[in-house]
Symmetry: C2
Subunit: 182 residues, 2 copies
Amino acid sequence: MNRPRRADAADNRERILEAARAVVATADEVRLNEIAKRAGVGQGTLYRHFPTREHLLAEVYRQDVDELVATAPRLLAEHDPVTALTRWLDRLVEYARIKHGVFAAVEAGVRKDLSAHSLGPIGDALTTLLDAGRAAGTVRPDVDARDLILLVGYLTRLEQDEWDTRARHLIRIILEGVRSRG
Amino acid sequence: MNRPRRADAADNRERILEAARAVVATADEVRLNEIAKRAGVGQGTLYRHFPTREHLLAEVYRQDVDELVATAPRLLAEHDPVTALTRWLDRLVEYARIKHGVFAAVEAGVRKDLSAHSLGPIGDALTTLLDAGRAAGTVRPDVDARDLILLVGYLTRLEQDEWDTRARHLIRIILEGVRSRG
DNA sequence: CGCCAAAGCGGACACGTGTCCGCTTCAACG
DNA sequence: CGTTGAAGCGGACACGTGTCCGCTTTGGCG
């Protein structure tokens, strides 16, 4: 899109991301001012490159998100739509479990994109999966990606010690609600 | 439980709640320091009476919550369990729509109670409804109140302009997932 | 080259939450 | 009543987020 930036700016941006990745990987508390310090830039610089905390996190996790998104068509090629959707959501859960920040960032990213009348990459992946299911008649026709994103949002509120018992379990319940009545 | 407090303390507590109700009713931004100022107390006082923002809000909305909780047995007396649950959740949605803060406070309250190995009043109401459904064989036996609380948490993240289209719709989807397969 | 406008920078600042601690006030008891 | 110790108070403080603005750097252009 618009990439003719100044060289030093691009540099800073990269250094910020690097610092952010380092902090995210080690500490569980992600403090923006610390990231700025580590990157050797002022807060202002950090905030111009990434207007909100979420923009930064979204970029940090971008690779993971891309990976996840790329999985959707692959799953659809190998399985029926509902199975593909199930597997995909399981994978989402797995990401959310390991990298606690992933899902929060994704969700925030979606909100950001919402105003732009888009659901973002994650939403697009879900739309693909749902469309396939709808076409096959195995998914309720009145469910869209935004619905699912809202529902799986519980992942951000799950306590650590509930993960094993509830994360997948709730996905199953959601899927039951999303399937066409057999 | 433990009510032999000092008179002036009880007074302050009441004044804080009064101020909080006033702020909640008018402004949509709820600033604790403003509430403290309006109540004519220091921040320290406010925070000792209500350790966190959520404790305060929970108390502000306590009456609404009690009302909602009291509804559950009434609904169960008049309808089959799944219908009762449906109506109850619809009522929850209605509360959440009007008083935006209600549900966030409730959810936070639940989290607080979680550590005390309790689900709080809302959780208890849901447990009653779910138990009835389970006994009647119309609700999946592996769903508990905590599951539902997590799922309906989407209400806190719903944008204002999505309410009409999504709030009830998602409740229906959840209910489909929670019902026993017929 | 050297100029200079725009792009970028950094850190001070404003604001909200929640904590801490020395002073004040209550109320129980002699 | 006066004493007294604990309950309660208030506001200063620490900390994180996000904004703002005067100074610096870059790099295109003459």
